[in-house]
Amino acid sequence: MAIDKDKKKAKRGFYEIYRNRRQEIEICDGIAIDESMYDLKENRLLTMFLKGIMVYLLSMGSIGTYLSCVGCDFNEIAVNVVAFVTAILCSLLYHSYLTENVGYLIFFAIFAVITYSVRTYISSGFNSILNDSYEEMSNYFDSEGMQRFAESMDDRYTAITVCACIICVVFNIFINNYISRTMRYMVSTIIVFFFNVVPFYIGLEPDLLYMIMVVAGLIMAYVIRAGQHHILHRSESIYKYHDKPSFRRRMFLKIKKIFTKKEEDENIKVLKYGNDFKALGQMQGVLLLFTTVVILIANLISPKDTFQKRHEENPFKQATVEIMGNVLLLGVGSVFNYYENSGGLSSGRLGGVGTLTFDYQTDIEVEFTPYSYDTLYIKNFIGREYIPFQNRWTQTTDFEKPSEQNEHEAKALEKLYENGGEYSAKGKMTINNKAGNIGGYLPYYSYDESTRLTFRNPREYTYFPKQADTEYTIEDYRTDSGYLKVPDDNKDIVAQFGEQAGLSRDNTAEENIELLINYYQENIPYTTRPGINYRDDFVNWFLATNKKGYCAHFASAATLIFRYYGIPARYCEGYAIPYDDVVMEGEIEENKKFSDYYQGYSELGETAYVKVPASDANAHAWVEVYLEGKGWTIAEVTPSVTDEQTLDDFWTALQRARENRSSEGNDGDGGGFNFRLPVKMTTVMNVLYVIMGIIGLIVLFFLLRPVARSVVAGYIYRKANYSDKLVIKYNSLLKGIKRRERFANKEDSIYEHINYNTQLRYMAAKGYINISSEELEEYIKILERAGFSDRIITKEEFEKVLEGLKKKGKS
């Protein structure tokens, strides 16, 4: 096996710069391993081929897992072949420096051309995959009304196949980067699983073949990395030599020394092989066989297909279903755009939630004297203009003024009361904002200013209730035409719906209102889980496509429908506290007399002064319609699901409520109000904020570390004496030269010189510094004194040497 020296020289090629120092490996005096040891070359081609197989297993495994989970039909053989071939090609690109750099460019160019030429297939195929995925997701989350992405190709099979091929190629490029060179299994795991989490979450399982591929691929990556012979070096020599321990080993020895007080020899000579394709291939074969056998046996014992059905979902996952549903179906933005009250007041913003969820925390507290079986409405928002596709109502700028609220109605009722009119009354109500939106809260009917109610700053309002039999008239008041405006984007759908509902411009306002309410009640179900709307306008989607929803849907659509038929209408939001809630949840304020807070007619008779909490479950949207002579009147358009029942008088109902207070809550009216999420949205947000904070700190640490280092170094320099200062400055110069020569032939570089004497001579010879020979000798002496002697050099010596070292030579 004698190697001709000339041949040795011929083999040194382009890798000269990157290979190990090619010199004898001295074991002890007189015994060394000849440098021809480095001429033993590994079979790079076969090694890369084997690593390419791993890349194929991971990329095709992950794509196949996803596609088989969501049930996409595609040509598996074609995709496997493409994945395999491109995986091998990508891996072979790392064969040499040349192939890596030039090869990748060519590869990308070809890939770009192919991708461009089949872009229609890719786009259609991708949309097909997404549609299949969303279909599975909406089945799982029981969320209907999903939008589908446009599939331009009729041939789904081919489109998905082409798309899958392209995705496989992309994955091959990514995974190859981490597997072929450094076998980073953690990053590969993240790449493989980051999107496969979705089908796993919704309980889907892949085909056994792809499961085996993924599992085998990851196990191989782990084992090969653990085997410590996975790094792809630039040099093709099988063997590499090192005699310095790694950083980790040095740290370990230092720590060990602290505990054992024993010094261990750090420097161990190691002649280590790089890659052996036979052992690698055999290991891959053994692991593949092992994985296949284990999974097949497991499948025999506990079949995969029935595994999910045999096990209940765990409560932790169930707790995340709602949030995940929104994230997966609406995107991550839904986490941040989640309304604070999660189904409570939205200040005119519509949509954004596929499912209403309530936290049942008290938003406001209302203190008043119950006077009627009717629902108590507390108004917070009046929507004047509807913006289609932005799906929101806007208020007038001076909405706080009584004139924009119900001033005329309140004054008319007040006049009735003062005149001693039948069924008139006057009351005082205190509203306390505990955790609701900061805004105005007004009872019906009050002409107090709807000023912003801040937290725990209760305010008393005077109100004049309008009860069922109260008759009053408003004169000399006309509303403006803004409350008749229907956006052009909504007109057609609104007209169509109104016609279906039987509305007509020939009917009176009251008739049309009643027709719509009845039509809603009979044809449009109430639900707290209406689903999500991607593209359509909120109202159009509700009226034409979805045909189910909650109060905001009904109220918004009704407002536009009424306007279309010439009835001025406005969209309102606030809290609606039904009679049942008053008696169930109300607490009597014993020290407050009914008569101090209510005068006049009360349908319920003399009741008591009660404090009633209202949560986001009481948040509601309704319509106010303007009727001639009556002014703005509440039109409750949202269908009710309560059965008719006999209403007890206040005290009987209160008594029964107290007796039943420990029993289970009712099943709810209005549909779904009792739905309760164990995990609060705020908890999830807090966890997210903490995680983001930690990530931010880590990023900051890495950004600030160099800054901190230079600050500390500067401090040390300032405190140092002249000897140390000179050494610091000299080391800095040396570091710069080493950086410049890091690719140079190590036999003739600064690295060969390890003391001041030879280093300075080298620097002067190479022209890094420009000093005379007398100065050189003097500088050497000063530096040696600075570095090794206890005697500190003088300031003049320091400045002299520093000045001399700064004089740059030609090179």
Binding site: M1, A2, I3, I27, C28, D29, G30, I31, A32, I33, D34, S36, M37, T65, V197, F200, Y201, G203, E205, P206, M211, V214, V215, L218, I219, Y222, V223, I224, R225, A226, G227, Q228, H229, R248, I268, K269, V270, L271, K272, Y273, D276, K278, A279, L280, Q282, M283, V286, F290, T291, V294, I295, A298, K304, F307, Q308, H311, E313, N314, F316, K317
Partner: protein, 347 residues
């Protein structure tokens, strides 16, 4: 490499990965994660057990391709690992101890190699030996890494190989032989005093003119005819050459090389050389008579079995007592900063 090594960091990492996988399995209840879990559960004991099994079945050997070599010439050491099992390991570490017994240099280098499934792995290491002596290669401990990288299972073995490194053949003694011949002349004179250093090769009848001292009196009495011993045609010149093996390794090396070159030249010039060196372990001089070049390498091989010592002058005090027949000898030693030759007279 004294003990079986455990990698706690990897163990901890594996446990963390296991826990993460377990959490994912509990959360997702996915069959894929179950598969991972099963494999991750059975892999560690399987890995360690199979590694212990393989490490016990592996067969090792060391061979020097050439029994002897010259300085600076490449000499190949073959390290062989035979795996009769059907398991693979990516990392086998052998602690190769390389020792020059003559200079008592020793150090260890760790060789790592793969263990292929049911096959033999041979590694030819090109050794460059730049100091003469007896080079011994030993492997006493090997370590096999398990699949998952948790442990390196240790096994004691005892395999050896040796090779002899002789001074380079092209080295020639360039000094003046006349300096040395002074020593040789002294030897001749001692011969004149009756000391005969020849060997008997045959017996024949007396021919007038034969030396009386060659008559085989015993045989002649028996046969009643004068018989004469036929002596080996030895050179008329002989040399006692003492190699001084004291001092620093580099110095001794140059002395050994000089001795070799000198002896080689002497033999070529038909001088019988008596090569003498001090054996520190036995406390005596060793001597080899060299007539031919082939004997030279053997003699040096024997010389390399001794150890170097501190001071040859202490040793040389015994010289006259051990070799009373010698009036002078040539000492090859390190003097005045280089290896040199010195004629020593003995009274």
């Amino acid at each position: 490499m004294k003990y079986t090594k455990i990698f706690p960091g990897r163990l901890v990492m594996y446990i963390i990965l296991y826990i993460v996988n377990l959490v994912f399995f509990i959360f997702f209840h996915s069959y894929t994660f179950l598969a991972f879990l099963i494999i991750m559960t059975i892999a560690p004991p399987l890995s360690i057990a199979s590694t212990i099994y393989v490490s016990r079945r592996l067969e090792f050997s060391l061979k020097c391709v050439m029994q002897s070599t010259r300085k600076y010439e490449l000499s190949y050491l073959k390290v062989i690992v035979n795996n009769p099992t059907y398991m693979v390991s990516l990392d086998l570490k052998e602690a190769l101890i390389c020792e020059n017994t003559f200079y008592q240099n020793k150090d260890t280098i760790i060789l790592s190699m793969p263990v292929r499934l049911h096959s033999r792995y041979e590694l030819d290491i090109p050794m460059k030996l730049s100091m003469s002596g007896n080079i011994r290669y030993r492997v006493e401990i090997v370590r096999l890494l398990d699949f998952l990288g948790f442990v390196e299972v240790r096994r004691k073995i005892d395999i050896k190989a040796e090779t002899l490194v002789l001074p380079a053949s092209e080295e020639e003694y360039k000094g003046s032989m006349s300096d040395i011949s002074e020593g040789m002349t002294e030897v001749e004179e001692t011969k004149k005093r009756g000391y005969d250093f020849s060997d008997v090769t045959d017996v024949r009848e007396y021919i007038p003119g034969d030396k009386l001292m060659n008559i085989h009196w015993k045989l002649s009495a028996k046969r009643d005819v004068l018989m004469v011993k036929e002596r080996e045609s030895m050179s008329n010149e002989q040399m006692a050459l003492f190699v001084s093996l004291d001092g620093y390794k580099e110095n001794i090396e140059s002395v050994v090389c000089l001795s070799y070159a000198l002896v080689k030249r002497l033999i070529r010039e038909n001088v019988v050389v008596r090569l003498i060196w001090w054996n520190e372990d036995l406390g005596e001089f060793e001597c080899r008579r060299l007539l031919e070049l082939e004997e030279l390498d053997e003699a040096f091989a024997d010389m390399y079995n001794v150890h170097i010592y501190e001071n040859s002058e202490d040793v040389l005090r015994h010289f006259p007592g051990i070799f009373p027949e010698l009036r002078a000898f040539v000492k090859v030693g390190y003097m005045e900063g280089e290896a040199g030759v010195e004629i020593r007279e003995l009274m």
